[in-house]
């Protein structure tokens, strides 16, 4: 009885646990992976409803405007893809500000920008503040470096 209720509680809590962990630690995708997922999931819908619309123009607005007509797979992928792209872009843009205290504490700040990234790459994640660590993860530079 006790064991069942524990299992039930765990089962009920699981989506929240996974959701919570996911929100905090989900990796952003590379831009190439993200946008090719969109091309695969939404390619046919894009040809149909957004033909002639530029990737660097109103494509996202067109997807949003025609969402009800898009396939369920495209609707779902579109949200994940644009979330990942904007999260990675924001992290790459704001890393210097968000990690400024960490950089001052952990790095030789007399060096140029590229070397500060090298410094953050060399620092153990546990030595970084959680927000700086998460933002640095979102930049994708750890996984990019691992692939090189």
């Amino acid at each position: 009885m006790k064991r069942i209720s524990f299992r039930l509680a765990l089962f009920l809590a699981l989506p929240f646990l996974i959701g919570g962990i996911g929100a905090a630690t989900a990796q952003t995708m590379s831009y190439a992976d993200a946008i090719s997922q969109l091309a695969v999931a939404c390619g046919a819908d894009l040809q149909r409803y957004c033909k002639g619309i530029e990737l660097g123009g109103r494509l996202k607005a067109c997807l949003d405007g025609n969402l009800g007509r898009m396939s369920p797979q495209c609707q779902q992928t579109r949200a994940t893809v644009y979330d990942s792209i904007s999260r990675r872009a924001a992290a790459q843009r704001n890393i210097g500000d968000i990690c400024s205290a960490d950089i001052a504490r952990l790095c030789d700040t007399s060096h140029a920008d590229a070397h500060l990234v090298e410094c953050l790459l060399s620092v153990s994640p546990v030595a970084m503040s959680p927000q700086c660590n998460q933002t640095f993860t979102d930049t994708g530079w750890r996984t990019e470096r691992a692939r090189q």
Binding site: S30, Y31, A32, D33, A34, I35, S36, L38, A39, C42, G43, L46, Q47, G52, I53, E54, L55, G56, G57, K60, Y82, I85, S86, R88, A89, A90, Q92, R93, A112, D113, A114, H115, V117, E118, G140, W141, E144, R147, Q148
Partner: protein, 206 residues
């Protein structure tokens, strides 16, 4: 200093991979970043406007339906660069979904920390189908479309890229001027810490 040596070695290692990969037009972002990183200290003293003018002059000076004399920029020969093929709708600057991945990979490369604070040219080339002057305009619109996509959604700093269309004035395979290999995009690293102003002038970033 040491890091630069490491990158130089990495660039050499990737050169081999690059040659094989280019044949298949499957450059990934790491290969792109590394091919853009083997940078010399020389700064390109050539603006996009000058390149456009040189392409138009080439049509005037060497008339013909196919360029009898290829346009060349010797100043660019030693600069770090790569070439990829991006597919567009016919006679249009709309990038096909099949090429989204390539544009995303260019964005990944330009965001790579080893390329922080460099300036880049995004150069568009066409094949020989269509008039030469028209193709300069078409390749300019296509280069602009790629630059626009790199800015939004992919968040590349607009100040570090200039788009230039050279039409069919630099065919990659002059023996087969209508071949698809001529339709391509060339990314060139023009030097450290240089940004472009609204009219293409270069200045020190930051």
């Amino acid at each position: 200093m040491k890091l630069h040596h490491i990158y130089a070695v990495a660039a050499l290692i990737f050169l081999g991979v690059l040659t094989a990969a280019m044949a298949q037009n499957q450059l990934n972002s790491s290969q792109m970043a590394n091919s853009l990183a083997g940078v010399s200290n020389t700064q390109l003293s050539l603006t996009g406007a000058q390149m456009r003018q040189a392409a138009l002059d080439n049509i005037r000076d060497y008339p013909g339906s196919i360029p009898p004399h290829p346009l060349s920029f010797p100043q660019m020969a030693n600069l770090a660069q790569f070439v990829v093929e991006v597919e567009f709708d016919f006679n249009s600057s709309v990038i096909k979904p099949s090429s989204y991945r390539t544009v995303g990979a260019i964005a990944d490369a330009l965001h790579n920390p080893i390329l922080l604070s460099y300036g880049f040219l995004v150069i568009g080339h066409t094949d020989s189908v269509g008039g030469r002057a028209y193709n300069i305009g078409l390749s300019q619109r296509r280069a602009d479309a790629i630059r626009n996509a790199l800015i939004d959604p992919f968040g590349v700093n607009p100040g570090v890229m200039e788009a230039v269309g050279l039409g069919e004035e630099q065919l990659r395979d002059p023996q087969h001027p209508t071949s698809g290999v001529n339709r391509r995009v060339q990314l060139v690293n023009v030097g450290k810490k240089y940004c472009f102003g609204r009219s293409g002038e270069q200045f020190q970033c930051q």
